[in-house]
Symmetry: C2
Subunit: 328 residues, 2 copies
């Protein structure tokens, strides 16, 4: 059996997808038990989020029970109701005098322009994603929240390349695990985070790929094509014991992984949002510098995995298909 | 005469340094007239800043007259008094019933461990930087706020490489200029922002350079060496007409340029802070996506210029010296 290189390799984390390949949308839940702290960092101009304010260290709630990533734009936030129902049935939540209240921060991406616009992930989809959750390696590609994702949209949707959801995991020398799952639906192109080589750029009419940064700087990119809605969303998970401030800090720095792999990133038409959950299953004292560096590392690799694992859907070809002459 | 590829190529911007090479500290002022809007984005764990709250779009003040970058840690914020004095003498400031009040946001970096710790830039230094300001190309290297800067400190100060201050400028196809000046004093190493090749990594005892990300992930980096204080600070300037929200957005996205060129970036021991000033001298309608992409581009190149232009100081060798066998 291959090693688990996904977010479910982190002790205390299970995860599952719900996928509607016909409508080209879906959702992904990351369940983190009842000991996890959480943080969030939102960049880019067009986020869609749920229960993010309580992650601010000045708020009292100090645990998160799940994080939900969904397609469907703002409509997709309805998935959270299903996750709350699933957790309530299992007695998981913030203890109150009248029963547990599950804390489920969430973020959405815009995939209404891919597949069907009228079908979006709903509460049943969120519930089904929880039912599907396990500690098995989380599938990558055109599944879950990445089902309807696309990237490299500088020349409009006709030149896009298929996005998806991907994961990466690493273990620090002190035994702490740091992993990321990212649903990549970026306006920008995708680059190898290590050597900066272009992996997925906007496709010209002749089928060639442009470097979107060069296209912006040399005028090939038409200046009014940025209106299409995008957004990359993800979760960094670790078994380290982090307080809320540290979890927010890790979420913020992890955006550097997006910056390495998505160029341009954090544009006005992206609502890029990353969560961090820390299960605390590993009591080793944390080195926050190492954890933030690892979070950046796995976030960049998760973006790359998402694009390389994606399969074509709803007329949008994947890089694998383009590289093998199957589509494009 | 060579083209001006620095921040002073932006219409409406002048800039100047004050340098104390003996104490290995200094400051840099960017003067932006009386029409500029401003924004700021602060990341990393250890910032030192001045007059940043008024850059929030919910605050009333809608103009900035200068931005100051200084060494000297928190002590270096005293430089701002000299800039206010210089501007007041010239009648520049936010109009009030009792005279103009200059608005001068500022940020500092920690250079007390390089050269002398007891000499820091003061009000006279800030005034002198204003006197030195012009629209000539702004010098790069171990000058101004970059005088005492160092990078690549994963193995402690003994393995550091000289930092500095650098600039880059580009002109978008619609004629709008976007430039950056960055004083680079990072804990992380420096990489070419395009191809990810290592430019300045922490030096081992045998003189070889490590890749700091690899050193963290494989355990070569000792986990308790991140306490040394750092911080990279800079300014993105454009002649576009941006409102305060847009200027803040550009400042935020420009951090992606740091993420490309500094790895790891935005660590707990860095107080990385970027300002954006928009003079509005160019009435062409702004394309915010293009401006943010250009801001990221020039911020990354400015980091590279800073390290490649630096000269050794106070026992810290520059990459040029190391590459030519002069030091190390």
């Amino acid at each position: 059996m291959a090693a688990n290189n996904t977010i479910t390799a982190v002790p205390g984390i299970t995860a599952g997808h719900w996928t509607d390949a016909n409508a080209a949308t879906g959702c992904t839940v990351i369940l983190c038990g009842d000991t996890a702290t959480g943080g969030v960092a939102i960049r880019g101009g067009s986020p869609g989020t749920h229960e993010t304010d309580l992650l601010n260290p000045i708020r009292r709630v100090d645990r998160v029970h799940a994080v939900l990533l969904a397609g469907g734009s703002a409509f997709g936030l309805a998935t959270t109701a299903g996750v709350l129902c699933w957790l309530e049935e299992r007695g998981v939540g913030f203890e109150t005098p009248h029963g547990p209240v599950p804390i489920v921060p969430a973020a959405i991406l815009y995939d209404l322009g891919v597949g069907r616009a009228d079908l979006r992930p709903d509460a049943n989809a969120g519930y089904a994603a929880c039912d599907a959750a396990s500690d098995a390696p989380l599938p990558s590609g055109s599944v879950g929240a990445g089902t309807g994702a696309s990237v490299a949209k500088a020349f409009g949707s006709g030149g896009a390349v298929k996005g998806g959801i991907g994961s990466a995991c690493c273990t620090l020398p002190n035994g702490i695990s740091v992993a990321a799952t990212v649903a990549v639906n970026a306006w920008g192109g995708i680059y190898d985070p290590h050597d900066g080589s272009l992996v997925a750029g906007p496709r010209r009419h002749d089928g060639s790929m442009a470097d979107p940064i060069a296209a912006i700087l040399n005028g090939e990119y038409p200046p009014d094509a940025a209106a299409m809605t995008n957004t990359t969303i993800g979760v960094v998970a670790t078994d380290a014991a982090l307080d809320k401030m540290q979890a927010n800090f890790v979420a913020s720095t992890a955006h550097d992984g997006l910056a390495l792999a998505i160029r341009p990133c954090h544009t006005p038409g992206d609502g890029d949002t990353l969560f961090c959950v820390a299960t605390g299953h590993n009591p080793t004292p944390s080195n926050l510098t190492a954890i933030t560096a690892a979070a950046t590392h796995v976030a960049g690799l998760a973006v790359l995995d998402a694009i390389q694992s994606a399969t074509g859907l709803a007329g949008i070809p994947s890089v694998n298909e383009l590289n093998h002459g199957i589509a494009g």
